[in-house]
Symmetry: C2
Subunit: 412 residues, 2 copies
């Protein structure tokens, strides 16, 4: 008997019929003798519907009140799933984040989980019940409702798995695992049986979108065994094992590159001719951070003649806001000019194997050069190489890199 | 400066635009220097949408889980209204029933309020904030979410007014007060400036539908000054005073009859030839009550030959269920037969004045007889006379009674 936390996303619970299917899948695992905690998202489209209502009232909805509204999406799903399980004759009880209670800080719309009270859940599990928990939400110390940000249901799942010391946290999505790249761009893309946490972190943050990055960090921190599975597979068939996210590297079998990730929704900003002196990076990025804009790549090359250029990328949706902020501080920091481009994308090769294999970067750059793709920015980490290129080259770049690193061929 | 509780129903908050209008109305009262607590319902149609979703999963949705779902309707509205007030530059904070906390018993879908914690609300009011509370919902001692049943938002409003010792509880609806009868049936129907609590109780329970009966009982018990107003009136015009519900009777000016109420959704059941012995009423109605079916009129005439007939009315939606229950107990109670009719309606004349005016009943019966309307059942109280007639006579009966009691003529 294992204790399993399962998380089902918005598509998996998008209609009452699909919710019945989720209940059947849960019932199948329950019938094998496992204890089950099920985390669900809002029905697909519901969160956007609620945001749409809010924006009819306020262009920038009040964050506290937005969380009050948004947390209703998951609350509807938990009720429906509990009903569906009862309809199958299975004991179940739903919990909102506040009922659990999942204590968070008070950063509305982007709250962080501080602690989870597992007492009531454990009692229910011991009474042979399936426990259903609303993802994406919590409650702060003052009793205000909070949400964890988009994709926060994954985080709820992993955090519950950590708190309950679950044997496995299964993330059900509309894909059956993590692929070497997006199969819609490269039909030869293959499902990975395993992927390391570090690779997964790089894949997620780079736009593979299977898992929310924060949930992967969380899983790594608390050593939660995380598995990505498909909720759309035929219930009567033997299920695919999905992709297991592992802590350990097995260098013997490790391919050099595990996958090609990409992110379409990027924009770059460059501050030209800033004085090359200590504190300048903070002066530029401080106001950006205060405006709650997430910065992705940051690049500053060596300066000359006492000045340098400073570039960074942000989500495309925050481009205009970031640009306005820079124009505001331009004089204060003594910059010559601000430039930007919101028609760029980022393509990355990810793999723990590159640590022990030199020459990956040059192979990547050569491959892109052979196709005439100009590289605008480069950023590297231990296990990934990212390049920023013109948006129009995205598909081409992903395809040629996937082939160049033999990702279309099965590993031994 | 007064402390005013305002309650806005589903139609009044049916769209973001209407919610902005509610905010403007609240702002108008706030600008006069009053403290305001605003109770809102779910946006019109939302509760039915949620029930529809639930019924796609379970024909009889699990009551606990249904309440988890249904309470989201009001939760969305409080968030939107708080945003709307902030958009107008007014400080506001929303509260769910659980956040307040409005403690109820654990009768899911029909919970009763046990107590209200007013501490947080008072602190907010003292800080010049408008407090917004989700109607219709509460939380039981174990932290389960509960709802108060249809129309429960009125009860929330009155209960909050009682707990906060508010100067007035204003119930905003889509009509501008209580009328002598439904103006859609009798165009000459007039708005009453005042109506006594007792009359209001009879009017509400008989289907006038302006206020939920439980909220009127509550208001009577805690001496809450209750006023029915229209939320659809032009904000720039002088508002209509609506109808004030009073405790005191002013017999000098009291008309004999205040209004003609009616209820379309009735069904009657008769148990024929039951033994005329003690305990028989309980044997018949016990199982009905256990099935949570509300019984309205109950009639048992004197028996003869040791047996009697026993009739009662229920909501039409519960007719089939009630009939099945009676068929089940028929043999046990020794009844000869069960009959029923779900094509009936109830029409009532209501007025505290009838206490001091004999002959009201006979006038009512004569008026109906002159139109050839057969009376199937009669039930009377101190201040009302109700008759059950064939459904097809409803409009005719209401019209002739409204005229017979001079309700189309203004009082002095």
């Amino acid at each position: 008997m294992a204790l399993i936390v399962q998380k089902y996303g918005g598509t998996s619970v998008g209609t009452p019929e699909r919710i019945m299917n989720v209940a059947r899948r849960v019932a199948k695992w329950k019938a094998r003798g496992h204890q089950l905690v099920v985390v669900v998202s809002a029905m697909s489209g519901e969160t956007n519907r609620l945001i749409g209502l809010a924006k009819e009232i306020q262009a920038s909805p009040d964050p506290r009140e937005l969380d009050v509204m948004l947390s209703t999406g998951e609350q509807v799903t938990i009720g429906l799933l509990a009903m569906a399980l009862k309809e199958l004759g299975i004991q179940a009880r739903s919990y909102t984040g506040a009922q659990v209670k999942i204590l968070t800080d008070s950063t509305f719309t982007k709250a962080r989980i501080l602690s989870i009270d597992d007492e009531a859940l454990r009692a229910d599990l011991d009474n042979d019940m399936v426990v259903i928990v609303a993802g994406f939400q919590g409650v702060d110390a003052d009793g205000n409702l909070t949400t964890l940000g988009r994709g926060g249901s994954d985080t709820t799942g992993v955090a519950l798995a950590a708190a309950l010391k679950a044997d496995e946290c299964q993330i059900y999505t509309d894909v059956d695992g993590v692929y070497t790249t997006d199969p819609r761009i490269v039909p030869e893309a293959r499902r990975l049986d395993t992927i390391t946490f570090e690779e997964m972190l790089e894949m997620a943050s780079l736009g593979s979108k299977v898992l929310q990055i924060r949930s992967v960090e969380f899983a790594g921190k608390y050593k939660v065994k995380l598995r990505v599975l498909s909720s759309l597979e035929d219930l009567d068939k033997e299920e695919s094992p999905g992709t297991l996210i592992t802590f350990e590297e097995s260098p013997m079998e490790q391919p050099v590159i595990s996958g090609i990730a990409f992110n379409r929704d990027e924009a770059k900003l460059t501050v030209l001719g800033v004085p090359d002196r200590p504190g300048i990076a903070y002066q530029i990025l401080g106001p950006i951070a205060e405006a709650n804009i997430d910065v992705d790549m940051i690049i500053q090359n060596v300066g000359h003649d006492g000045s340098t250029d400073f570039s960074f990328t942000v989500n495309r949706g925050e481009y205009a806001k970031a640009l306005a902020i820079l124009e505001n501080v331009k004089e204060h920091i003594g910059a010559r000019a601000i430039t930007g481009d919101n028609k760029i994308c980022k393509v990355s090769a990810v793999g723990v194997g590159m640590r022990s294999h030199p020459g990956i970067a040059s192979k990547m750059f050569r491959t892109l050069a052979e196709e005439g793709i100009n590289i605008q920015m480069i950023s590297t980490s231990e296990i990934k190489i990212s390049v920023v290129v013109d948006e129009k080259y995205l598909e081409l770049a992903v395809r040629v890199l996937h082939k160049a690193f033999d990702l279309d061929k099965a590993t031994a």
